[in-house]
Amino acid sequence: MSSAILLEKTAVELSDLLGKREITSEEITKAFLKQINRIDDQVHAFLHLDEQDFLTQAKDSDKRRAQGKSLSRLDGIPVALKDVISVKGQPLTAASKILENYISPYDATVTRKLKEAGAVIGGRLNLDEFAMGSSTENSAYGPTRNPWNLNCVPGGSSGGSSAAVAAREVPLTLGSDTGGSIRQPASLCGVVGMKPTYGMVSRYGLAAFASSLDQIGPFSKTVEDAALLLEIISGHDPLDSTSFPTEIPSYTQKINETIEPCTLGLPKEFFGEGMDNEVRNSIEKAVEFYRTLGHRIVEVSLPTTDLAVPVYYVIATAEASSNLARYDGIRYTSRSNRAKNAVDVYAKSRGEGFGEEVKRRCILGAYGLSSGYYDAYYLKAQKTRTLIREDFNRVFKEVDAIITPTSPTPAFEFGSKSDDPISMYLSDIYTISTNLAGLPAISVPCGFTEANLPIGLQLIGRAFNESSLLKIAHAYDREHKFGCFSPPLAKE
């Protein structure tokens, strides 16, 4: 099978081919390596790649299979990780200068689970430094470019994870989502991206940004592939005290069961001003499709919608300023050589090691937590967060899922928002509230603009009910498969 054909396959298709012995993991891995070497100098999705290690893992998978000892459906399938997820012995920079020389001494729980499933884990994917941003322009190692248009951003912060799947450099990736960092780049790059319910996937070994909001989740060409990866990485983990003890069903099985007619809600506050017309038309078509499948569409109201962005930026920056205190120039980061005393080591190492957006957010967070401002900012934001949760709880009494666009606009050009923090923060306006409420949400490609830029549909589900959300998403995706369209750049 030619490598060009392999690149277009979904992970489920590759898995079936491996199962039928029509192909080896080595052939698959070599095909993707060839693609990375061919186009990644243009896309720059990868910060690091150990090709030898990648191939060794593939050969090991083939040996297991030959002995009839395959570990799972993911055995032999390449998966690349955002550079905030620890892989023992591999670098983890979080796209920051301060972790330039850091090597992970242990595996994240998701990494361990992938290894136990036999996945071929290779590559460190680019992001906005410490996952702070919506464009991947905040990487200390240079931005990732959108495979659909190299002049446009891939979204962020998991821009490397979305671009790598879109550019057919790897079939599956993992990212992390704190306010939309999986779904928004998935939308801008035309791939599937999912943020699970808070607590479904262990955060152990993930470099923390905002601990009460962060979740790891999959990127893929199809909803079915996302289900496959999610069922491997989910589950309770004693090493993460916020991890939730709950049964993980076989999502890949569940999504193919017959879907009962359900009720889908359109929040009227999301469809107001600021939404691009092509995005709106595309979402309306998707809604129409659900209607023809026999689902009931109702208008719902989430009156706290316009509070989500300020609440998020108060809470996320406060948590970040506390979490990033660990990068102190003492124990495992680079250290300024200008430092004379202990406080100097902290301030100078962090001043030299952090990029602009990380400094901005740590300072904003420290301000919101500081004496005299705590009640007005942090506590007020936490109370308002309760109102946002209650809004969703009320709506989910009536509907099974909420439909919105993932992003108000398609991919934007480099530099167009980078000097205006608020306008950048507003590109996450549709994704942020689900992190505050802890709900699962998925971005599914739902078409293209006139300029051939992808558009994403967001579906938000009930907490801990990934099965139902994936099923609803799959009902659309299997009939459209917009994530299986490849950008011209990815084709030889």
């Binding site: 808070y198 301030a347 400094k359 109370k383 907490a463």
Partner: protein, 99 residues
């Protein structure tokens, strides 16, 4: 005049709290940008949260205990492999006590 306009963020004070050294040009830039962000946060002032409990986590769990079992700890060389400076199996730092 809103409160944040009356009391603009004291960038020297807050960057010291955050233990981040800023250049003069960064201070100048952040002063304006963070002032805008704080103005944007004013929206929260209008919200009535009387009697509302704060949410720290979407699905809080309490009293999550681990088994009290002896486990293999990090070896010294593992723990020190990323230290910027080390000597005699310890992390080396500048002198902390006063002369």
């Amino acid at each position: 005049m809103s409160e944040s306009e009356a009391n603009p963020m004291d960038i020297d004070y807050v960057s010291n709290l955050a233990r981040i050294e800023l250049s003069e040009s960064e201070k100048e830039k952040f002063r304006g940008q963070l002032g805008d962000v704080l103005k944007y946060f004013e929206k929260l002032k209008e919200v009535d949260v009387d009697g509302v409990d704060p949410t720290a986590h979407a699905f809080p769990r309490f009293n999550v205990w681990d088994q009290d079992q002896v486990k293999e700890p990090f070896a010294v060389d593992q723990a020190l492999q990323n230290a910027p400076q080390s000597r005699n199996d310890q992390i080396l730092v500048p002198k902390v006590v006063e002369e």
